[in-house]
């Protein structure tokens, strides 16, 4: 039901031509960290704005820009009230159609739970199987990641022409740590020279067909006690 939660954004994202998504998480040794999430639709402004100019598309109401902004504000407000989360803010560049979300968290589990709670708060859904799924786990040594936006799993409903348009989009997942990465189980993941960050970039069309492409398990070298 994540699809419905971020309906205004996702309907546009899925129907738009080129989309660039970045999720960027930093986890410190003590388990605290920062999560950043960006949706960039700037290269599809004509397409998106032409859709926004319509009342409805394929029987679904097309949200106005005001409704989209309200939804973003509501989600951000809900996120601010969650346990273990702080410095929550969102930025929406209306002209370039770029949405950014920033959250500091005390623990990864509180981040995940906080996002789930906020989804429930702004959507009509009070529970769903998808919200029970875990998309991020951290045990102090290994970080397991999957797609936070399981909307892609639902993209089977997209028309073939819309699916074609996803071919030029990218999804980038970045994970940063205080200590070096020992190994990752996704062969496409790239480590930076200092081995403190891991980047995995996939095509949104490929991701739609196989959401496991973004799954990654990152194991760090053992923590050295002083």
């Amino acid at each position: 039901m994540l699809r419905k939660l971020i309906f205004p954004i996702v309907i546009i994202s899925l129907l738009s031509s080129c989309i660039e998504l970045i999720d960027d998480i930093t986890i410190h040794n003590d388990g605290t960290g920062t999560f950043k999430y960006s949706i960039n639709l700037s290269s599809s402004r004509i397409k998106v704005n032409s859709i926004l100019a319509l009342d409805s598309l394929d029987g679904k109401k097309v949200p106005s820009m005001g409704e989209i902004k309200n939804k973003i504000t509501a989600f951000t407000t809900a996120l601010k009230g969650q346990n273990g989360l702080s410095n929550v803010r969102s930025e929406f560049d209306e002209a370039n159609l770029i949405l950014k979300l920033f959250v500091d968290f005390k623990s990864v589990s509180q981040l995940e739970q906080g996002i789930k709670n906020s989804i429930i708060a702004v959507s009509k859904e009070k529970s769903s199987n998808e919200l029970n799924e875990s998309w991020i786990e951290w045990d102090g040594k290994t970080l397991k990641r999957s797609v936070p936006l399981t909307a892609f799993k639902r993209s089977n409903e997209m028309t073939s022409s819309d699916v074609d348009l996803l071919k030029t989009g990218t999804y980038t997942s970045i994970s940063r740590f205080d200590r070096s990465i020992e190994r990752t189980d996704n062969g496409n993941a790239k480590l930076n020279p200092s081995k403190l960050a891991c980047m995995l970039k996939v095509n949104t069309f490929d991701l739609r067909n196989n959401n496991k492409l973004i799954e990654n398990s990152i194991t760090l070298i053992p923590f050295k006690n002083k």
């Binding site: 970045i22 700037s42 100019a53 598309l57 002209a95 009509k124 020279p193 200092s194 891991c198 980047m199």
Partner: protein, 614 residues
């Protein structure tokens, strides 16, 4: 002697032929739009499965999409190809009717297609009535009418509420009922409301099982109204012998044409049913009556003719004399030859519209103002005073010198246009990322719209001041550029030269052809034709235009129309003749390519017209 015997026989033969039941005599007088196919043998080879995909068949879809049409053509459906097939539609504030009438040659075959109908009791002589859930099939002699009558939701609600409250019931929805105004598909509706208890939305069933709850009552009211309306239509057809041919001479005359197909649209009745006029009807009845009289006689009649690989659709728009006098003045305008250089000979679509707004204004003022002035209403009186003062004080030479009324438009295809986008760049050392603005290209349909103008100084004055207010307006040597004007992403160019004010998103036109396309403009032959035709001309290369047109930019109705013609190839030309006080004639010529049967092309056109007129 031979003559004495033959004459009565001949007379008898002619009379029998004339008096025989024909499909058109089953068209209800309530029909506002009728598409009539005279030569339906053209359609013999079209499969039923193909036929039912057309929008004008949507009312009978549930009967025909049940496998009963598989592998069948119209020829196998028991239809008499010697009679017309008439598709009709009508709407009033209380109901909507739709359906078609046709000749029947073999009832057994007909009911193999319409196999869900059950016979109902008939009070009419020689009339068999069959019904399914939504539709009724009525057979009389060798003709049939398939009809759907739907009372309006407003009427059903009104009647239901009246009975419901008269029985002493309270609000059927409870006091805290609310709903979200979002447009929801059935799928989403069911998903989103799955957690809501039924009792929260629907009225509770009555304790007494013999007492209907609100929705049961509403269903009963709907069925009763539906039956009553159908009975009224059938009484007219089979007892009073009233139908559209007996009630409207213009339609009868149209039915006498031997063209392959005819079209009838009574615009005056559309005017009467227009919901937006309820205020006038109730609050200002005399004004409503006067305006209604203006529209009296407003009807559109058309004929389809097939000539080799061409379909001609000749349309006559008839109107009353007073409205006609405004049209006559409006269309009394010389063709503006300045536009010719700006239409590229390779444009896949263009139109020219040549009217005289000044004369139209003067005539409309002369016709409409006395109607408004005679109204004894303070609001109207104030409006009349305002209009009369504006008429005195406004510089009409400047106004109509700026907007003369004549215009043209072209579709220059879909081009890649340059836009800006934000791109992320990554530091390979840290994977930190930043943003940079880069150029992007997006597909955009390229349009040009130009207006004839005498006072080029006025738009120039406005643009100069706007450019001082915002940097989004830029003045260049031959044109103005309004940055990000289109969908916040693409620029709009304005060319104010040669007696034209042109708006376009075609950068090539602004930069390289501000004075027109020269040798690449429309040919002299086409230009001569445009000058000699009436106030309106149009051309569409279907494969070059509609097949490439991005539907995202259209509303649902426009999109349906474009979709109805998508995938076809061919060219359409539209031209009008001189406008008189009583009518204007239009001719639409559709020359098609490919191997599709001409009957199929005609159905495609009819389907488009059906969507347009509905």
């Amino acid at each position: 002697m031979k003559q004495v015997v033959l004459l009565p026989l001949l007379f008898l033969s002619i009379s029998t032929n004339l008096l025989a039941q024909r499909s058109e005599s089953l068209i209800p007088k309530e029909a506002v739009t009728v598409f009539s196919l005279n030569n339906i043998s053209l359609l013999q080879k079209i499969s039923m499965d193909e036929l039912i995909t057309y929008d004008f068949m949507e009312e009978v879809h549930q009967e025909l999409f049940d496998g009963s049409t598989n592998g069948k053509s119209l020829k196998d459906a028991g239809i008499d190809f010697g009679q017309r097939l008439n598709v009709f539609y009508g709407k009033s504030s209380d109901y909507e009717i739709s359906g078609f009438t046709l000749g029947v040659s073999d009832q057994k075959q007909l009911f193999e297609v319409f196999d869900d109908f059950e016979q109902l009791q008939s009070k009419y002589k020689d009339v068999s009535i069959y019904g399914s859930f939504f539709n009724n099939l009525i057979l009389h002699e060798k003709s049939a009418i398939l009809i759907r009558v739907e009372p309006s939701m407003e009427l059903i609600d009104e009647q239901t509420d009246s009975i419901w409250y008269a029985r002493g019931n309270g609000n059927p929805y409870g006091d805290d009922f609310y709903y979200d105004e979002g447009i929801l598909t059935e799928d989403i509706y069911l998903e989103e409301d799955s957690t809501i208890q039924k009792s929260e939305v629907f009225p509770e069933a009555a304790d007494d099982p013999n007492e209907k709850n609100y929705y049961e009552l509403r269903d009963s009211v709907q069925i009763t109204l539906q039956n009553r309306l159908l009975e009224g239509i059938l009484d007219d057809l089979f007892i009073k012998h009233l139908n559209l041919t007996t009630e409207d001479n213009r339609f009868t005359e149209q039915m006498s044409h031997t063209s392959e197909g005819t079209f009838y649209l009574d615009n005056s009745r559309n005017f009467e049913q227009a919901k937006g006029l309820w205020y006038f009807q109730t609050v200002l009845p005399s004004l409503y009556q006067d305006i209604r009289e203006l529209y009296t006689g407003n009807v559109i009649l058309g004929d389809w003719s097939l000539k080799d690989n061409t379909i001609e659709f000749a349309v006559e728009a008839r109107y009353g004399e007073r409205l006609g006098s405004i049209y006559e003045e409006m269309n009394d305008s010389k063709f503006d030859k300045n536009i010719i250089p700006y239409i590229n000979k390779d444009n896949s679509a263009f139109f020219t519209y040549n009217v005289n707004m000044r004369q139209a204004y003067e005539k409309a003022y002369e016709v409409v103002m006395p109607i408004l002035s005679s109204e004894k209403n303070s609001d109207i009186a104030m409006n009349v005073l305002t209009i009369e003062l504006l008429n005195e004080f406004i510089n009409k030479d400047a106004l109509f010198g700026t907007y003369k009324g004549s215009m043209f438009g072209t579709f220059n295809g879909v081009k890649k246009i340059k836009t800006k986008k934000i791109e992320y760049y990554y530091d390979e050392e840290t994977f930190e990322y930043g943003e940079k603005e880069t150029e992007a290209t997006e597909d955009m349909p390229i349009f040009t719209l130009g207006f004839s103008i005498d006072r080029i100084d006025i738009p120039e004055l406005v643009l100069k001041h706007l450019s001082k207010l915002t940097s989004m307006f830029e003045q260049h040597e031959n044109y103005w550029k309004f940055n990000n004007a289109i969908l916040d992403a693409a620029p709009l160019f304005m060319i104010n030269r040669n007696g034209l004010f042109i708006l376009t998103n075609d950068e090539d036109l602004a930069l390289n052809h501000a004075d027109g396309y020269g040798k690449n403009a429309l040919s002299k032959k086409t230009a001569r034709s445009l000058k000699h035709d009436g106030f309106m001309n149009g051309f569409v290369d279907i494969s070059g235009t509609l097949n490439r047109f991005p539907n995202d930019l259209l509303n649902q109705r426009q999109s349906d129309m474009v979709n109805a013609l998508k995938g076809k190839s061919g060219k359409m030309y539209l031209k009008s003749t001189k406008t008189s006080k009583n009518n204007t004639n239009f001719l639409l010529t559709y020359s098609f390519l490919g191997e599709d049967k001409s009957g199929k092309h005609m159905l495609d056109l009819i389907n488009t017209m059906y969507i347009f007129s509905k």
